[in-house]
Amino acid sequence: MEFIIGKFNYWIYIVLMMIGFYAMIAKSNLVKKLVGMNIFQTAIILFFISIGSKKGATIPIIQEGATGDAVNQAVNVARYINPLPHVLMLTAIVVMVSTFGVAMALIIMIFRKYKTLEEDEILEIMRSEENK
């Protein structure tokens, strides 16, 4: 029981990742594949952020209004959640969005050339063109 509840963040991310993975592999519509990829990457990002959190800790931003010595004092690390995964995931989100953008551009190109977004139909068209 402890295994499931205690590590619930792992379970959630694994389930989400597998849903995304399944969509990427099994669906034949290109946009659906893309959505699956998105889910896949989002699951990973969620996972990373989840590992930075701590019980009873607050967000890693120093209190407003603190001036002078309060700012320069050593931060009590135990009271803040780990900011590093957040920072890393900002980068990863940027990567995810750019990948999404490139993929959409590719899909638009494909649509212009084949007038369909179903992979099996596209392969059919390709095969018939080759045989001509």
Binding site: M24, L30, P85, A92, T99, V102, A105, L106, E129
Partner: protein, 505 residues
């Protein structure tokens, strides 16, 4: 300047790519000179870095002056420097080659092509030079996105779908890599490769570390097209424009192998990768599969670029076998093979591209008698093919020598036999083309009856119509490199490669 070389080598192409957009929108014709100047600077910088590493030892460069492991650090040892110089030299040569290809296939996208090309070079150099695992992920994705865009930039109708499939698979690979980074971060709190190498040995028994290793390996395997995760490669490299195929084939897979070596032997110690986990064993068998499978499928192809893609899959197999036997000879062979294979693949794909430029097709049939029309290109193609087969005196023989020696030293006779056997298969694949170029058969079967084709002396294509100089020069440089570098293998090994072999080998 030389002290700042590690960061300059990344910044110069990066800024140049932004400059390129601005300059290109102003005057399109300035893009090409800008690219050439930038890449020649990066070649000079990489030579200077190599020199520094050889004379002074490992370079540690701290970005922003932040101490590792809190700051990002660039660590350059012999392995990095070696790969750096290969990548920058090949990118420079292929940039020279690209001019005519771009003009012919997609002139309206010249500015964007060169911008993304420079970004691709930045990404590759960044992967090679960084000492931080997450930084590597960032550069890996820069590289991947650039390649996805470049593959689809041409006119070929099948390119976008090939690029899309590559995108899907490549993203899975990169995400697995990211997961690996994440798992390691959970248990160590560090992202610096050297630091991880220090912290991990205490944790080798942990399942998290095991999972991390597994994710890393699979992720990188997807990126370097190791059988059976190679499915994206043939389509992607066949339908991409010639320049892109040539560059991607000669550098991306090699950088992928570099990442694998770093993970297996720097982040994780050799004893973990080899003794505690049988990962090298598994990799060895997988790589043998790659060799045989790649060669056999290559023989079945009728399109030259597709055949070369399958040969590339086999070549990745060779390099991974060299790493997997985990001894000095095998590792030396793998690194030497990286160098020679980069030259060989660049030359082969560039030659195929030159043929495409002149004749408009790359089928084997289209190569008939091509030595009359394009003698130098075909001579370079033959030299590169013979090197890929592994016949002396060409460079490929010397690297294969070490690979087989490594396999025998490790007692893996089956690998040695498979290596030699696949050389024969590669020979069959290439000699079909070479025979068609120089001595095409005179009678072909059309609908069951033999028809005699005109004899050699009456063939109409007797005019020499060689590829343009900007394409020909890089091809010839690569071929000359293949001819000459082989004899310097000893010097290369003694000055650079022998220091890259992980301790304990």
């Amino acid at each position: 300047m030389t002290a700042q070389a590690p960061i300059l080598i990344i910044i110069i192409p990066l800024i140049a790519s932004f400059l390129n957009v601005i300059i290109g929108l102003w005057r399109k014709r300035l893009c090409y000179p800008l690219v050439i100047i930038t890449l020649s600077l990066s070649v000079i910088l990489s030579i200077s870095i190599l020199n520094t590493v050889i004379t002074q030892g490992v370079i540690h460069y701290r970005l922003g002056g932040w101490e590792p492991p809190w700051g990002i650090e660039y660590v350059i040892d012999h392995l990095n420097a070696f790969i750096l110089i290969i990548v920058s030299f090949i990118s420079f040569t292929i940039a020279i080659y690209s001019k005519r290809n771009v003009e012919q296939e997609f002139p309206e996208k010249t500015v964007y092509f060169y911008t993304i090309y420079l970004l691709l070079v930045t990404g590759l150099l960044g992967i090679t030079i960084t000492g931080d695992v997450f930084n590597l992920y960032v550069f890996l994705e820069i590289t991947s996105l650039a390649v996805y865009a470049l593959i689809a930039i041409g006119r070929d109708k099948k390119a976008p779908l090939a690029s899309f499939n590559y995108l899907i698979m490549g993203t899975i690979g990169a995400c697995f890599y990211l997961l690996g980074v994440g798992y390691l971060y959970i248990v160590t709190g560090s992202l610096n490769m050297a630091d991880l190498g220090r912290l991990l040995p205490d944790l080798y028994h942990s399942k998290v570390v095991l999972a991390a290793f597994a994710f890393f390996t699979v992720g990188v395997a997807i990126k370097m097209a190791l059988f059976p995760l190679h499915v994206w490669l043939p389509d992607a490299y066949t339908y991409a424009p010639s320049t892109v195929s040539a560059f991607a084939a000669s550098t991306m897979t090699k950088v992928g192998v570099y990442v694998m070596i770093r993970i297996m032997f720097t982040v994780f110690e050799p004893r973990f990768s080899i003794v505690m986990l049988p990962s090298t064993e598994i990799l060895g068998w997988v790589a043998s599969g790659a060799m045989i499978f790649g060669c056999i499928l290559a023989i079945a192809q009728t399109d030259v670029k597709r055949m070369l893609s399958y040969i590339l899959i086999a070549e990745v197999g060779y390099i991974v076998i060299g790493v997997s036997v985990a001894n000095r000879a095998g590792f030396t062979g793998a690194l030497l093979y990286i160098l020679f294979d980069a030259f060989t693949m660049a030359c082969l794909f560039m030659a195929a591209g030159a043929v495409m430029h002149k004749t408009g097709e790359t089928s084997i049939h289209g190569f008939r008698h091509l030595h009359r029309r394009m003698p130098l290109t075909m001579a370079a193609f033959s030299i590169a093919a013979l090197s890929a087969i592994g016949v002396p005196p060409f460079a490929g023989f010397f690297s294969k020598w070490y690979l087989v020696l490594g396999a025998i030293d490790a007692g893996k006779w089956i690998f040695a036999v498979l290596l030699l056997l696949s050389s024969l298969l590669v020979a069959v694949a290439f000699f079909r083309i070479i025979q068609n170029v120089y001595f095409p058969p005179y009678e072909i079967l059309i609908a069951g009856s033999e028809i005699a084709l005109p004899s050699a002396r009456n063939d109409k294509i007797t005019l020499m119509d060689e590829a343009p100089m900007s394409m020909l020069l890089p091809i010839v440089i690569m071929a000359a490199g293949i001819l000459l570098l082989g004899f310097f293998s000893g010097r290369i090994i003694s000055t650079i490669i022998q220091f890259t072999v992980p301790g304990g080998f």
